[in-house]
């Protein structure tokens, strides 16, 4: 193998899903002993690319070349055995088993048919050596007792014990603190020195500066820039952003209405010192990188993961939000980020899903067709107004597209005419036309007097829709921008390590 040949190369990978072209001919390669940063916004195609590399998806076109040989990985296991290890944000570990047992899961060394525990722990110690003094656990420690950074070490050790040639790390610092990040970076330096190829997925510019040898930027399923060096952060950000912000975003709000919700000193395990005022008629966008606390703030406000300190006032009266039902009764509605697991009752009808909250707040013995928040025919009108497409509204909602499902949840909350509406990732996995309809709906709700809070990882969306933009970092609100703020400055505020307070 020549010095220059990459360990692996993805060539012209094309991958489509019904209605979406996720990858439009992406090429990406990584040499031994280098860290190749893969950057791009949410939905740019990074995770699809990694799933193709690791055998979870099969590419429609293009080839995977590993050490000069074209390969096809039918299963994740095949890719794993070929030496490609992906360390996902969600670890695939057994919490009740020891570190050694996790590392050797499914391929434990045996002697005379019995587990060779001595060899297992010797090999585990060998694999754990790379962590040096940063490691506070042993091969016998129970994985469930380890913290997140230690679990990540176990995942890395698993990769090393398989002698992985390629290690893919998917936003490995999302849940780590500064000290833990420093440990991880040292470790990545060691892995590079060992000659492994490392694909490093991140949003954060300082990490790229610190670690990467090369940078590839993905946008809308295509490579928009590939650097054989590490350019200035501004250059990378410019290549990431600039997606078409076209006509489908709504007009700015005409005027700010009365104060509808106010949080003073709100905090819980994941949030600190939250001061937030939301006004009727206004859409406020909440930006930040993964783990910054955006979703946690929405869930605290909705009583699902309540504030443990601070006060909340809604329409001038203090509110105690201990559970979602309290929040709903106080006039808050939430469109959750994970539609299928948090928003919908998938095997119930479209109508039942729309009527769920109105019925839950009406008497249990009352007829389900007409509640105190409107009847089924007014709900049907709302569906029609939202252009919800279903053969019948009595159809099971699980068979509809994501966009139509989302419209049913929008209609559910509209029925309650809430004071405050929280949209968490409302357009994830939704086509462009439906997005436009949902944005228009948000504006309509705001114009009708509601305060709208938008939590999204899609920065262009935040910029296009919001009247005011707040940036979160480490559980705090750290910056505020008016409508019309540039993508680069907001991205910078969200990704820079230092807590900069931008001028509002």
């Amino acid at each position: 193998m020549s010095e220059e040949a990459p360990v692996f190369a993805l060539e012209n990978i094309v991958k489509g899903f019904p209605g979406v072209m996720a990858l439009k001919g992406v090429s990406f390669a990584c040499k031994a002993g280098e860290v190749h940063a893969l950057v791009g916004e949410n939905g740019a195609g990074k995770s699809t690319l990694i799933k193709v590399l690791s055998g979870i998806y099969q590419a429609d076109e293009g080839s995977i070349i590993l050490e000069g040989v074209a390969r096809r990985f039918g299963t994740p296991l095949a890719a794993l055995e070929a030496g490609i290890c992906v360390i996902h944000q969600e670890f695939s570990l057994l919490p009740d088993r020891s570190v050694a047992e996790n590392i050797f899961l499914g391929r434990e060394p045996t002697r005379y048919g019995f587990l060779d525990r001595r060899r297992m722990s010797a090999q585990t110690e060998e694999a754990l050596k790379i962590f040096g003094t940063a490691r506070k656990f042993t091969g016998e420690s129970r994985v469930g007792d380890l913290d997140i950074s230690e679990k990540q070490m176990v995942e890395i050790a698993k990769a090393l014990s398989r002698d992985a040639k390629v290690i893919v790390m998917d936003e490995p610092t999302a849940a780590l603190n500064d000290t833990e990040c420093a440990v991880l970076f040292t470790l990545i330096d060691r892995l590079r020195a060992q000659g492994r190829a490392i694909v490093y997925i991140t949003h954060r510019m300082p990490e790229i500066q610190r670690l990467a040898d090369r940078v590839t930027v993905l946008k809308d399923g295509a490579v928009t820039a590939a650097f054989d060096h590490v350019p200035e952060p501004e250059t990378i950000v410019h290549a990431m952003v600039g997606r078409d912000i076209d006509t489908f975003y709504p007009e700015a709000g005409s005027r700010r209405g009365p104060l509808r919700l106010s949080i003073k000193g709100g905090g819980n395990g994941r949030l600190k010192a939250i001061d937030l005022d939301l006004y009727g008629g206004e859409i406020v966008g909440l930006a930040g990188v993964q783990g910054a606390g955006r979703t946690a703030l929405a869930m605290a406000l909705f009583g699902a993961d309540p504030f443990t300190e601070g006060t909340v006032t809604i329409d001038g009266s203090p509110a105690s939000l201990r559970q979602p039902r309290d929040a709903i009764q106080a006039g808050i509605g939430l469109l959750p980020g994970d539609r299928k697991s948090e928003g919908l009752a998938l095997s119930q009808s479209v109508m039942d899903n729309g009527m769920l909250a109105p019925r839950a707040l009406s008497g249990p013995a009352a007829a389900p067709e007409s509640t105190r928040y409107g009847d089924t025919s007014s709900m049907a009108d709302r569906f029609t107004a939202l252009d919800l497409r279903a053969a019948r509204y009595s159809q099971v909602i699980g068979s509809l597209s994501g966009g139509n499902q989302q419209k049913a949840i929008v209609a559910r909350w509209m029925a309650l005419s809430p004071s405050v509406l929280l949209f968490v990732e409302p357009t994830r996995g939704i086509d462009v036309n439906t997005k436009a309809a949902i944005y228009a709906q948000m504006r309509t709700l705001a114009d009708a007097g509601a305060a709208v809070l938008l939590v999204s990882s899609d920065l262009p969306e935040i910029l296009g829709v919001s009247d005011r933009i707040l940036v979160m970092q480490d559980g705090r609100i750290t910056a505020e921008f008016p409508r019309g703020a540039g993508e680069v400055e907001v991205m910078a505020a969200a990704t820079h390590g230092a807590h900069e307070k931008a001028a509002a």
Binding site: A304, P336, L346, S347, R412
Partner: protein, 331 residues
């Protein structure tokens, strides 16, 4: 499904209506035809009324069980509660006719209490419902045995046995009408109303389908779950009052009834672990199960083979449902 090239006639509408009929109805019809072929007397009012009367307790139990199953749980304490109802009633009454209504009220109150405990243990202690209600089953069995001293004596006064036993004669059209059949129709209609014509029924469905989204939509999850267990326990008390009427006092009167009610509900299309269930289907399932038992009886097979048949159709019905869900792609 008719393709566009085929013109739609009135027959198509009829056929698609037939396709929507719960499959358990076809099973029931098939079994009834088989019974009639073997024993034409079944067509006499005495034959079919007696059949419905025998099916009534399982139908009522199944109508209650559907609420718990649809909410995502199991209620295994039904059978023991049936036994306890019969034994406690006979002891409390001690042959005293005047106390009948007071004792029935007390039994229903006891049923509510059992349901509340089941619901609260599952909701707050987070004990899986199968364990919580099994524990309840053992405890209720223990109460029944302790109270009766192990060998229940005594009898139930005639006015108590009225519900299970009395038959109105000389009724036009059907000649005879057992009170048990009337009770079954009234109770099942009430349960049907609660499941399919109230917000509660809709919330039970939403809770069993996805507890997280139900909670995030404002469904009072604990209250709905408790209500489901209460309805199931109340159905067991009613079934107990009826069985006391025609079977008399014994410690095994309720034995295995919880499994029969689950089997009936599953036959009627109720989805295990929640999200879908119909009272009508469960009642039809109970009738089908009773028809199967009757058929086996007419065929002269030993009574224990009922259990074999019940076990096989239970597994078959669940496997079929799992298969259909996999094929339709909805998990």
């Amino acid at each position: 499904m008719s393709s566009p090239s085929i013109p739609r006639g009135p027959l198509d509408g009829f056929i698609s209506a037939l396709a929507r009929v719960n499959p358990v109805v076809w099973l029931l019809i098939l079994l009834l035809i088989a019974i009639v072929i073997i024993s034409p007397n079944f067509l006499q009012p005495f034959g079919y009324m007696n059949f419905i009367r025998r099916a009534a307790p399982i139908a009522i139990l199944a109508a209650g069980q559907v609420f718990v199953l649809t909410s995502g749980g199991f209620d295994l304490s039904q059978g023991a509660l049936v036994t306890l109802t019969v034994i406690a009633s006979s002891i409390l009454l001690g042959g005293n006719e005047e106390m009948v209504w007071a004792v029935i009220a007390a039994m229903l109150a006891g049923g509510v209490l059992v349901g509340v405990i089941n619901g609260l243990v599952v909701s707050y202690l987070k004990v899986p419902s199968i364990i919580a209600t099994l524990g309840m089953m053992i405890s209720l069995g223990g109460i029944a045995l302790t109270w009766s001293g192990g060998s229940p004596r005594g009898y139930l006064p005639e006015s108590f046995r009225f519900f299970g036993r009395y038959i109105i004669k000389d009724v036009p059209l059907v000649t005879i009408l057992p009170i048990a059949v009337i009770v079954m129709i009234v109770v099942c209609a009430a349960f049907w109303w609660a499941m399919h014509r109230t917000n509660l029924g809709k919330m039970v469905h939403a809770l069993g389908d996805n507890p997280t989204s139900a909670r995030l939509s404002g469904v009072p999850v604990v209250r709905v779950r408790v209500a489901a267990f209460v309805l199931s326990s109340v159905s067991a008390v009613i079934a107990g009052i009826m069985l006391g009427g025609f079977a008399g006092v014994s410690t095994d009167v309720g034995l295995g009834l919880e499994l029969q009610s689950i089997t009936a509900a599953v036959l009627g299309g109720t989805r295990l672990l929640g999200g879908f269930g119909t009272v009508g289907g469960a009642v039809a399932g109970a009738l089908a199960l009773q028809a199967l038992f009757t058929l086996l009886n007419f065929l002269g097979l030993p009574k224990p083979l009922r259990d074999v048949a019940q076990g096989l159709i239970l597994i078959f019905a669940v496997a079929l449902a799992a298969h259909r869900r996999r094929r339709s792609g909805i998990n």
